[in-house]
């Protein structure tokens, strides 16, 4: 039963086309995947790809409009906006990546333990997470920032904890369902060890759900981290981080130069929408979710 091999995809008969809705959704999924891939590439190679030094000020060329030298113009100290957006990808994507990695890993383990052992452990985990859920992530981050000072440590610590209940609830519900399936009882009867069932059966079966949750959660984490940087409690100037760029660009808006803030905001928006579409697309593909 463990190695039943079904063909992973059923080949389409020649001449049979996929329905139009399906094709369009596949296109959206592919597009979102490409955008996410592009920004991950920028995060990895940003400093090599940027046309200028993101922190090089140019007092003679402040708030300039788009030109061939500065495709998106310059900010109030003459720094190249395009370069700042490109180099900022790393700082903007790294913190949410850590948050999602920590909270999904920890959340999956908690969910598996709660679903598998049930009883008081399940009630305890659920209860603790209900309490954590009552503490808004942003306020937790402000509190941590007050203790440790501004920096990315505060949002990473606070949001990893704040996101835990959401991931754990979803995975736990799925794990309970999976645990009650007959094949698990069969494996137990066959004498399979708990660790073997977890590693070979439960985890692989829950992995698609975890992946979908992590993808969707990434967008939210990105927004929250950028918001904390916007509030001045995250990344420190002059780091090119998107949330901080929006905050630093805000005064220039009143002087009629919205470019620095709006392009950084646009970068956040594009990445968030791409991760969201990727998450829902993956959810349809991997989980057969029709919503």
């Amino acid at each position: 039963m463990t190695t039943a091999s079904f063909p992973r995809t059923i080949r389409r008969l020649p001449g049979v086309k996929r329905p139009a809705g399906r094709r369009r959704r596949d296109g959206v999924l592919l597009g979102a995947g490409c955008v996410v891939g592009l920004f991950v590439l920028l995060a990895a190679l940003g400093p090599l790809l940027a046309p200028h030094d993101p922190n090089a000020v140019d007092p003679l060329n402040v708030n300039s409009a788009s030109s061939s030298a500065h495709l998106l113009g310059t900010d109030d100290t003459g720094r190249d906006i395009l370069s700042r957006v490109i180099v900022g990808a790393r700082a903007s994507l790294a913190a949410p990546a850590v948050i999602v990695a920590v909270s999904t890993t920890l959340g999956t383990l908690l969910a598996l333990a709660a679903a598998w052992f049930g009883g008081w452990l399940d009630r305890f985990v659920t209860g603790v997470l209900d309490v954590v859920f009552g503490f808004p992530g942003l306020i937790m981050a402000v509190l941590v920032a007050a203790v440790f000072g501004a920096g990315l440590v505060a949002p990473i610590v606070a949001l990893s904890i704040a996101y835990l209940p959401l991931f754990t609830r979803v995975v736990r519900a799925a794990a309970v369902k999976e645990r009650n399936l007959p094949y698990i009882s069969a494996l137990l009867l066959l004498g399979a060890s708990t660790s073997r069932i977890w590693l070979r059966h439960l985890l692989p079966n829950l992995l698609p759900l975890v992946l979908v949750q992590a993808t969707i959660g990434f967008g939210y984490a990105l927004i929250d981290v950028a918001a904390i940087s916007f509030l001045g409690l995250g990344s420190r100037p002059p780091d090119p981080e998107w949330g901080l760029m929006v905050a630093n660009g805000a005064p220039s808006i009143l002087a009629g130069h919205p470019q620095p803030a709006l392009f950084a905001g646009l970068a956040i928006l594009v990445v968030v929408v791409a991760f969201n579409l990727l998450g829902t697309g993956l959810s349809r593909r991997l989980l057969g979710d029709r919503t």
Binding site: V147, G149, F230, L262, G265
Partner: protein, 318 residues
């Protein structure tokens, strides 16, 4: 009938959540590698030892943790939140001076969420076709733009390009307050307007297809009454629940709009205090936010369950 057990569980969770949160809010101070007293005078300055010694006495920092915690919590419950040495004022006065502005902002945003969210969602579901597609795209867009990005976008569009609204401060008198708070309230509300609109649309759609609606139509009940009594009435449960969650969410994120527009409320005070590492203020304001957040969420849960008793019996329901 709502089960007593459900009410008791929810209230117990409320009390435990507030208790654990207050413990975390107080205890956070002790995570600092140095002397927690430095956080109470504002961590960035180097304070003189005499002041530190006084702080130690005032906040019972040399006593066991639980004793210090109990002292802090009982003073808070009596409305004494201590003194801020950074702002040179009592924390209660600092809060009192700003709570009105935050209440006005959150109230304004809540009205926007409740009206715009439900109207857009209902229209989308009832009209269908182009209206629905347009509303869906609009709400998806509203939900994707973070509050702080929406704030700067609104400032640029409606305060700079079209000078319709003032940008900073919270205004004098009713008209002044409305004109000053409109942009911040819209920026704050938009995410939740999108959310409520989507839930409303889904709920109304589901009811439109329900058998009891078909039956009512079959009996010859006029469409207007079918919509009002059968469709909208039945769809109101989930809409109420998500609106409540939305209003709690407005409180949790009010700080962002306040900071972006400089309306100077409690959230802005908390951010300012955190940046200056003024722990006494941060502790008091975050405790206040958490209590209000949890109380609203619990109230919404209880009212939802009273409206739809199935929620109280179904385990793990919203």
């Amino acid at each position: 009938m709502m089960t007593l057990r459900f009410v008791a569980t929810r209230l117990a969770t409320l009390v435990i959540t507030v208790f654990v949160s207050s413990l975390a809010i107080y205890g956070a101070m002790f995570l600092t590698p140095g002397d927690p007293a430095t956080l109470l005078v504002g961590g960035s300055r180097s304070p003189d030892p005499e002041v530190l010694a006084r702080i130690h006495r005032e906040y019972h920092l040399d006593d066991p943790f639980i004793q210090g915690y109990w002292h802090w919590l009982s003073s808070c419950l009596q409305g004494d939140f201590g003194r801020s040495l950074v702002f040179r004022d009592s924390v209660a006065d600092l809060i009192g001076a700003r709570v009105g502005s935050t209440l006005a902002l959150v109230g304004y945003a809540a009205v926007l969420v409740l009206t715009a969210g439900t109207v857009i969602g209902t229209m989308a579901a009832l009209r269908g076709g182009r209206v629905e597609a347009f509303a869906t795209a609009l709400t998806a867009g509203a939900m994707a733009v973070p509050t702080f990005v929406m704030s700067v976008l609104l400032i640029w569009l409606f305060a700079v390009r079209l000078p319709w609204f003032p940008v900073y401060g919270s205004g004098e008198g009713f008209a002044g307050t409305i004109s000053h708070l409109t942009l911040p309230a819209v920026a704050l509300a938009l995410t939740w307007i999108g959310y409520v609109a989507q839930v409303t649309r889904t709920a109304v759609r589901a009811e439109l297809r329900a058998e009891h609606v078909e039956t009512a139509r079959g009996r010859g009940v006029p469409e207007r009454i079918v919509i009002r009594r059968h469709v909208l009435h039945n769809a109101s449960g989930p809409v109420f629940a998500v609106s409540g969650v939305g209003i709690a969410g407005l409180i949790a994120t009010a700080a962002i709009a306040e900071q972006a527009f400089g309306t100077g409320g409690l959230g802005a005070l908390m951010i300012d205090a955190a940046a200056k590492q003024d722990m006494a203020v941060v502790q008091a304001v975050s405790l206040l936010f958490v209590v209000v957040f949890v109380v609203i969420n619990t109230t919404v849960d209880l009212i939802s369950a009273a409206l739809d008793p199935r929620l109280a019996t179904r385990e793990g329901a919203v």
